[in-house]
């Protein structure tokens, strides 16, 4: 799962798109929707990353015999 680095590009793309939508909504005067879009983008990105982090920590625990 770690032998591809494409998730970096995916998250960067989501960040750019969220920034674009945020700017457009702000220009339209919908401030609260802009904040909501930022929150939703952050949650989506976090959901993508959390699995990787959990896998990394599981791997660390199996390598360094930290099963306690």
């Amino acid at each position: 799962m770690y032998n591809d680095a494409s998730i970096i590009f995916q998250i960067a793309g989501i960040g750019i798109i969220v920034a674009m939508i945020h700017t457009i909504l702000k220009q339209m005067g919908k401030e609260e929707y802009a904040q909501f879009i930022t929150l939703v983008g952050f949650i989506i990105v976090l959901m993508m990353v959390v699995d990787r982090i959990a896998e990394l920590f599981q791997h660390i625990r199996s390598v360094f015999l930290l099963q306690g």
Binding site: I8, A12, G15, I16, A19, H22, G41, V45, I60
Partner: protein, 130 residues
Amino acid sequence: MIVVQIVMMAIVGSILILLIKPYQPTIAFVLILLTSSLLFYYMLIPIQEMIQLLRSLTARFDFDFIYLDTIFQMVGIAYVSELGAHLTRDIGLESIAYKIELVGKLFILFISIPILMTVIETILYFIPNF
């Protein structure tokens, strides 16, 4: 050469973080987290090979070195606390980074207590009066 791939991945990640940071600082932080964890993962592969080599050597020569696991656990705690301290230092939380390092040092000390007790018992064994 896997080193070139790792360095290139780190540079590409840095450029993307630099691009996103003015617009979305939180997503930039998630990207920092992901790049750091990928780099630490690639650091883990040679460490795993070395640990397996040492364990197979001690198993082959029937070398009664029961504290090798404790040493590996110490290295693991140092590794995890270093990862956490670097991640928190990257987003500018210097005080939490110091506390993570403190917790890591304390737990390394806690794990090394059996080795210390063995050394003290050996020293006391050589003193005839005790």
